[in-house]
């Protein structure tokens, strides 16, 4: 099971320049909440911003990662 730290590192690696703050909501390694700050979100709708983060994990979100609650901002 990934830790909150693992999730944060993967988001930051997948979206260059992003800063991610991740919390494991249940302690079970499958429900996370992430706050992600990245200039890559500029000019994108919220849907597109969240898709950008989900894309880092491919099929894992909705699979082994049951939930990844997101808050995305550019600053």
């Amino acid at each position: 099971m990934p830790t909150a730290e693992d999730i944060a590192r993967r988001i930051e690696a997948g979206i260059p320049g992003a800063r991610a703050d991740v919390e494991d909501l249940t302690g079970g390694g499958d429900h996370f909440r992430a706050t992600v700050v990245s200039d890559a979100f500029a000019g994108r709708s919220r849907i597109e911003q969240h898709r950008l983060v989900y894309a880092v994990f491919g099929d894992e979100v909705g699979g082994p990662i049951h939930a990844l609650s997101l808050q995305t901002t550019t600053q």
Partner: protein, 145 residues
């Protein structure tokens, strides 16, 4: 060469067809785990509660009875998780986005409803009525229009 074993894109996909039809036929439709009255997951519960709090009629599809619904929906919408809210055929978002839009008042505007008279924070409106789960593939529950 493409992978010939995958048949997701063929036109004979009754589940995907049913999903597309449902999205096209309902102005506001929520795909969720469970029903608005008996949600099967906290995220679905919160999303349904936001819609109910606005008093706006919406259709709800429970994705749990058939795993293909979820699979085809996510393939169609390019969105990995449940719930998913569609308005006028467009994906609005999941729990995070819908909740945020509810709190900022954007959801009312997207749904074209008047702001509720009470405080915007109360997500305790009564449930929808009129179960119409007679579809062969999707059990769609609609509130009266």
């Amino acid at each position: 060469m493409s992978d010939e074993t995958r048949s997701d894109e063929t036109e004979t996909n009754p589940v995907r067809d049913a999903i597309e039809r449902a999205i096209g036929e309902h102005k506001v439709i929520l795909f969720m785990k469970g029903t608005p009255e008996q949600p099967g997951c906290g995220f679905s519960a919160r999303t349904a509660a936001a819609l109910q709090a606005l008093g706006s009629p919406f259709a709800a599809v429970d994705v749990l009875p058939d795993p293909r619904i979820r699979q085809e929906l996510s393939a169609l919408s390019n969105w990995p998780t449940i719930p998913q809210l569609f308005v006028d055929g467009e994906l609005i978002g999941g729990c995070d986005i819908v909740t945020e839009m509810y709190e900022t008042g954007e959801l009312q505007r997207a749904l074209g409803v008047q702001p509720p008279a009470g405080s915007p924070g109360s997500l305790d409106a009564t449930g929808s009525a009129g179960v119409a789960g007679d579809g062969p593939l999707l059990g769609i529950e609609s509130t009266p229009r």
